[in-house]
């Protein structure tokens, strides 16, 4: 592979790539669906995060929280009152502060606080409020405070909000439509118009052509993933980790696109295969959409290992430790698909002759 020629072809792909309905579909469809979901399920015009506090002592944190403009702070007199407020949606997160909280924080002692959350509340609001509370505690201690927030979820699995349930589907659509279709259509087009034959008669190799088209797929796939997560307000926690996972997912999508492009003869066949194969790719999203479906159904699909880390990071504030196993499986899948791309590129070389 020659990097200079790959960059020349990449420039051509970016400037002269598909300018037809495919590109519109790749970009507009996920954005439009995201906006519709946000509008229907009320995440587009949400108010400030609402913070409920029940203070067993007289913590300065309450006053500090009330002074903040970015959140709305409400106080309650009893644990049952704050639970009721959380369940009714009056607040997104309700925290019960122990009696000697300020002293413990300033002495550097380990403190445990209980945070009540309701399944229907928005993940991003909960993340903002947890981060805000941790900041306030740090401000009081003058250093990193040893505050452990224990979450207690009110309500069952069935109460997961629909915008959270739909997020995996929208993310998969954003990452995979662009990542698969752009390289696949571009490659099929080059085969049909025989321009691929003209390219490989120059010192350019089939590998150079595949690399350029694959990079375009990764770029559009990653960009769409970032845009969709941003539109769905899921980019609040661990953005770098999210970008890492999205990149690995974009690589997988692009590899699948190259395999399809190398093996499939025309766009009509590609769309027909997409209708069937799409169900396989989107199966993990169905598992999140309908929690009654056993999780193992999702786990046998490669896309599960993209969706699961994204959900853990964006909805459960998870870190590297929580997603490392699935991310490593995702890396393994990327390597496996890369091997298949190399194999099919050799087959493609024979086919274009």
């Amino acid at each position: 592979m020659n990097l200079k020629r790959v960059s020349i072809l990449l420039g051509k792909e970016l400037l002269q790539g598909p300018k037809n309905f495919i590109l519109i579909w790749i970009i507009v469809a996920p954005v439009l669906i995201s906006l519709i979901v946000s509008l229907v399920f009320g995440t587009l015009f949400t108010d400030k995060p609402k913070f409920g506090v029940m203070d067993k002592g007289s913590s300065k944190l309450v006053a500090s929280a009330q002074e903040l403009d970015s959140i709305i702070t409400k106080t309650y007199d009893s644990v049952s009152e704050i639970k009721q407020a959380v369940e009714s949606g009056s607040v997104d997160l309700g925290i019960v502060l122990p009696q000697d909280l300020d002293e413990s924080i300033m002495q550097g002692s380990q403190v445990k606080v209980t945070a009540y959350v309701w399944g229907q509340s928005l993940a991003k609001e909960r993340i903002v409020l947890r981060a805000t509370f941790a900041n306030l505690a740090r401000g009081l201690a003058g250093q990193e405070a040893l505050v452990e927030i224990e979450s207690a979820t009110l309500g069952g699995e069935g109460s997961i909000p629909w915008n959270d349930r739909l997020l995996p589907f929208i993310v998969l659509m954003a990452v995979f439509i662009g990542g698969v279709f752009l390289p696949a259509i571009s490659l099929i087009d080059e085969k049909q118009k025989k321009t691929l034959r003209a390219l490989v008669i120059t010192p350019t190799s089939v590998g150079d052509v595949f690399a350029a088209k694959g990079i375009v797929g990764v770029i559009i796939s990653l960009a769409m993933g970032v845009v969709i997560l941003t539109l769905n307000q899921a980019f609040t926690a661990n953005p770098l980790l999210l970008v890492l996972v999205l990149t690995l997912g974009a690589v997988m999508a692009s590899e699948l696109g190259l395999i399809c492009g190398a093996l499939i003869k025309d766009a009509t066949t590609l769309f027909a295969i997409w209708k069937v194969g799409g169900i396989v790719l989107f199966a993990p999203a169905l598992v999140y959409m309908f929690p009654q479906i056993p999780e193992w159904v999702g786990k046998i699909m490669p896309t599960y290992y993209l969706v699961q880390p994204i959900i853990v990071i964006s909805q459960q504030s998870g870190g590297w430790y929580d997603i490392s196993t699935n991310v490593l499986i995702l890396v393994g899948l990327d390597v496996l698909f890369l091997g298949m791309v190399v194999f099919t590129s050799r087959k493609a070389k024979r086919l274009i002759a």
């Binding site: 200079k4 020629r5 020349i8 072809l9 051509k12 002269q16 300018k19 118009k193 025989k194 321009t195 034959r197 003209a198 390219l199 490989v200 008669i201 120059t202 010192p203 350019t204 190799s205 274009i352 002759a353």
Partner: protein
């Protein structure tokens, strides 16, 4: 010593095909063909559709791996080291395969960059193929003849040492065809070896130093047009005579027999000759004589 010559000024072979063979399933497309093309030579490769011409070009340019035999370009085995010769060859395909949504200039610049051509005068090349002033237009707006001229321009962008042209003038208007023939001759003048497949016997006769007739995957004749005509052609004298009843009749006298002088004398002494002309065998006649089939 000139790089194009061996010692004693004997031209090197730019192309050597040795028992080159390829088949698609049961069909043997190219059947153990062997030939050499010297540097600076134009070889016309003639044959009807399905004779194996395009398969031969694809094997010679490294697009297709021979099932048997070997092809060597500029001394390099194409099956093993295709990447070492790709910079030295140019290919004009039979089918138009340009980026139609790009302009002619964008097409040529893309390929020039892929060939690593740093000094490349796009406008001069377009002018040379008769597309001056149309460089910025999208290729999809071009006529077939203009596209074909652009294909030829693309094939010579890297100043190739060997130029493969697969039916470059097929279906073109006379002006476009003549323009392409001139470019082929200019390339030969520059020193390029030209491997030209064509249906057009007149074109092959006019351009080629030697011609190869291909039929059913085999080379059935390979020589200069002159020698082929000498060996296989029949020269004749054709006359129209006026009979006693006033009708015109044809007479034909072979020029290559011992009886020719007597026959000509008899024609002029006994008949009333209206018109007379000599006729030389064409490559088309020779092809039909050798293969028993027409080119089309």
């Amino acid at each position: 010593m000139n790089g194009n010559m061996k010692g004693d000024d004997i031209p090197c072979n730019a192309i050597v095909a040795d028992e080159l063979t390829h088949w698609y399933g049961e069909l043997v497309a190219v059947d153990h063909i062997s030939f050499n093309v010297a540097e600076g030579e134009i070889l016309g490769f003639l044959g009807p559709n399905g004779a194996g011409k395009t398969t031969t070009i694809r094997m010679l340019t490294g697009q297709l791996k021979p099932k048997a035999g070997k092809a060597t370009l500029l001394g390099i085995d194409i099956s093993k080291n295709v990447d070492r010769v790709q910079g030295d060859i140019g290919v004009c395909f039979e089918e138009t395969n340009l980026y139609e949504q790009m302009s002619a200039t964008e097409n040529l610049r893309l390929f020039a960059r892929l060939f690593g051509m740093h000094r490349f005068d796009c406008d001069a090349l377009l002018e040379r193929v008769g597309l001056g002033g149309r460089g910025k237009d999208r290729v999809e707006t071009y006529s077939k003849g203009m596209k074909q001229r652009l294909m030829v321009a693309r094939s010579i962008i890297n100043r190739p040492r060997i130029l493969f042209l697969d039916e470059p003038t097929v279906g073109l208007d006379p002006t476009s065809a003549e323009s392409i023939r001139n470019i082929i001759l200019q390339e030969r003048e520059r020193g390029a070896t030209v491997f030209l497949t064509t249906h057009d016997m007149m074109e092959a006769d006019k351009l080629s130093d030697r011609v190869a007739f291909m039929n059913q995957g085999k080379i059935v004749a390979l020589d200069t047009p002159h020698n082929l005509k000498q060996q296989h052609g029949r020269r004749a004298l054709k006359a129209k005579i006026s009979t006693n009843s006033g009708k015109l009749e044809d007479r034909e006298i072979s020029l290559d027999t011992a009886e020719t002088p007597d026959a000509i004398h008899e024609l002029f002494s006994r008949e009333q000759v209206v018109t007379i002309h000599s006729e030389e065998a064409s490559l088309k006649d020779i092809f039909i004589k050798i293969t028993g089939r027409e080119l089309e």
